[in-house]
């Protein structure tokens, strides 16, 4: 009985541990992605996002994956900083709803006006093999 209990609780802890590791890995990926937005690292952005990405801004503007990368290359949008806080993860198998509060500074439309945004963001990440990729994002003014 004691033996079974030990096995059961080990399995339980292994399960919990696996999820925590998965979550930690996902959160690290999420933060890397945000920094890639700031550094305009389009190689990373390409790897970190799904081909069917839809990236929604707080004013209703939605970028496709192509737009996201092209808008950096043509200087349409530029992030000066991207800070995330209060990250929560809701995981269901290979899908995760990642929510956080974001403090973003960005310039838009090729202007030098720096805009500050305080947003509530939902990002949907899907696991492909061993990697998490961003499938969708929607920000809303906080």
């Amino acid at each position: 009985m004691k033996f079974i209990l030990t096995i059961l609780s080990s399995l339980f802890f292994a399960g919990v541990f696996a999820q925590t590791v998965d979550e930690a890995k996902l959160i690290a990926t999420v933060k890397e992605f945000h920094q890639a937005l700031v550094t305009k690292n389009t190689v990373s952005l390409n790897q970190q996002t799904d081909k069917a990405l839809s990236y929604g801004h707080s004013n209703g503007w939605v970028q496709s994956k192509k737009d996201l990368i092209k808008d950096f290359e043509r200087g349409f949008i530029s992030y000066q900083s991207f800070k995330e806080d209060s990250i929560t993860v809701l995981m269901n198998d290979n899908v995760a709803n990642v929510r956080f509060v974001a403090d973003i500074t960005a310039t838009l439309g090729g202007t030098t006006t720096v805009n500050n945004y305080n947003l509530r963001v939902l990002e949907v990440w899907v696991k492909k093999g061993k990697r998490w990729v961003l499938f969708a994002r929607q920000g809303v003014k906080g």
Partner: protein, 143 residues
């Protein structure tokens, strides 16, 4: 060779149809969800549409879990008129789907005030036991 081609094209047709069936189910469920949230407010219908865990984000940024969401919707005392969902776009990735659409309505509040709603919606659907269920939602006001 001809036989192979036939099998191959059959497979393609099956795959194409499967995609269409998913899109059909997602479109129907999106409309049903919208009618339930802003119309019937029926908890049984709502429960059937939801995944085990849900995070439900409102246009003002406030967030609800499954239980809070059901309570909020079924006890919502506003009436919605002139409701319209348009521009539905569906993105499917294996067992996850994103549905985006525009939603407009007049919210007739209990105190008599009327508010125009103009939302851009994002829904996250996942396949649970072969059925699409809602796992996430984020509304954005685009007025």
């Amino acid at each position: 060779m001809k036989k192979l081609l036939t099998i191959f094209s059959l497979l393609i047709v099956v795959a194409a149809n499967a995609q269409t069936n998913d899109e059909k189910e997602l479109t129907e469920k999106t409309y049903l969800l919208s009618h339930t949230v802003f119309g019937s407010k029926d908890s049984v219908t709502l429960e059937k549409l939801l995944a085990k865990t849900v995070s439900y984000g409102h246009s003002h940024g406030n967030l609800q879990n499954r239980e809070e969401m059901i309570k909020g919707i079924t006890k919502n005392q506003s009436n919605y008129t002139d409701t319209a969902a348009s521009n539905i776009k569906i993105f499917i990735q294996d067992k996850t789907a994103i549905v985006r659409y525009l939603f407009k309505a007049k919210e007739n509040k209990k105190d008599g005030t009327v508010v125009d709603l103009d939302f851009s919606m994002m829904l996250v659907w996942i396949k649970e036991k072969k059925e699409w269920k809602l796992m996430g939602r984020q509304a954005v006001s685009v007025k």
